[in-house]
């Protein structure tokens, strides 16, 4: 028999040996998005849109890519993935991110 390169979404901890891709190869990009790491978060950042000047300094510091930019403006936090590290709120010059207690 020849093994198939099964898509990641169809592989889970109940998959049979012949349902898994050979050599553990995954043949599609960014399947990690299927893992919602936002569940790990204990403190949640809050985006205060009114205060945001869209300087975007919070974007490159996010380890989890949870701040996305469209048309030059950042959007809401993607809480499906944000792990709540707080780096973003520390770099915001405009107090547009609240995180836990005081700064």
């Amino acid at each position: 028999m020849v093994l198939k390169y099964t898509p990641a979404a169809e592989i889970n901890e109940q998959s049979k040996w012949y349902e898994m891709s050979p050599g553990g190869m995954i043949c599609e990009p960014g399947t990690s998005r299927l893992t919602k790491t936002g569940e790990w978060r204990t403190t949640t950042p809050v985006f205060i849109a009114d205060k945001c000047k869209h300087c975007l300094l919070c974007v490159p510091v996010c380890p989890d890519g949870a701040i996305r930019v469209k048309d030059g403006k950042r959007g809401e936090f993607d809480l499906e993935y944000c792990k709540g590290c707080g780096i973003c709120y520390k770099v915001c010059p405009f107090d547009a991110i609240e995180f836990g207690g005081d700064k």
Partner: protein
């Protein structure tokens, strides 16, 4: 290539969300920072040494990379990527493939300074057209914060703990950036996270688009290993640069260039004080450790300035 911050921030992530690195980890920030410098039309193959990034970004069946990716083992990311690059050259020459690829390896300091050192040196010497990126967090974090040759003197790590007799690691940090520069490769840069990331972006762009082997050494703090509050990362990297503990410089075509000179060089203790791994240095009677560290930083800084003139 001028850096347009806003445009760069709008580029699609080439390291997807959903990876399993710790909250506040410096490594994905470094990786995303490097990959952002890839031109949109270019494909890439990423190689990765075993380490935190590997076990967290490609936990079967979940890859966080948007590009092709290969991990083989701890000590041979550079050799593995050499093979990929050789395959590319061969297949391209034979007309078997048409796309343009760039080749980027990521390794932690363990997989780069230590166990992967020979493999890296070999790949640099052979002249492959690839970039090796070290995300340096100054200890073997994947196995639980053990001493590395990249660990700075006096740091309290699990295999060189600060004890009653021996105050942490007793040897100085290896200067890998200079060692790779001594390979006379096309481009070497040392960077970390500062301001709007222009330093990292520009160095990454040069490293990727300079033909031949290139090396980037990026300080990427580990909040667990360094013992600081996760939110303080950018403060720490800024202090590393402003105290001259981690100077930003590059070596291009044999020419050394300092990319950032602090307006006021800060005392090293400001960098040390925020981190639990150096806490014992601040106990009464241990002032000499801070003095010795300051003297070492000063000496290295002067040497670097002399090279950059």
């Amino acid at each position: 290539m001028a850096y347009n911050f806003k445009e760069a921030m709008e580029k699609p992530d080439r390291l997807a969300s959903g990876h399993r690195l710790c909250a506040g980890c410096g490594a994905p920030i470094a990786i995303r920072g490097v990959l952002r410098a890839l031109e949109p039309g270019d494909k890439a193959v990423i190689a990765n040494a075993t380490g935190c990034v590997e076990v967290s970004t490609f936990t079967y069946p979940y890859t966080a990379f948007m590009d092709s990716y290969i991990h083989s083992a701890f000590e041979c990311a550079a050799a593995t990527l050499s093979g990929v690059e050789a395959a590319y050259r061969s297949m391209k020459r034979q007309g078997k493939i048409a796309d343009n690829y760039k080749f980027i390896a990521f390794g932690g300091d363990g997989g780069t300074y230590d166990i992967g050192f020979q493999s890296l040196s070999g790949a640099m010497e052979r002249g492959h057209d690839l970039v090796y990126v070290c995300y340096d967090n100054e200890a073997y974090m994947n196995t639980g914060i053990q001493r590395a040759s990249s660990t700075p003197k006096f740091a309290d790590v699990t295999t060189a703990p600060a004890g009653k007799v021996i105050p942490g690691k007793q040897q100085r940090k290896k200067n890998l950036t200079e060692i790779i520069a001594a390979h006379n490769v096309a481009y070497v840069g040392q960077s970390t996270f500062i301001g709007n990331f222009s330093d990292l972006y520009e160095k990454s762009h040069k490293a990727i688009y300079t033909e031949g082997p290139a090396f980037l050494n990026i300080m990427a703090p580990c909040p667990r290993g360094w013992r600081y509050a996760t939110e303080d990362m950018m403060k720490i990297t800024k202090l590393a640069v402003d105290t001259c503990v981690w100077p930003l410089y590059e070596v291009e075509d044999g020419k050394w260039k300092l990319n950032y000179r602090p307006k006021k060089k800060l005392p090293v203790e400001e960098f040390l004080r925020l981190q639990g791994r150096f806490a014992h240095m601040f106990k009464p009677g241990n002032e000499w450790m801070i003095e010795e560290t300051q003297a070492e930083v000063d000496r290295n800084w002067e040497r670097l300035l002399a090279k950059c003139e």
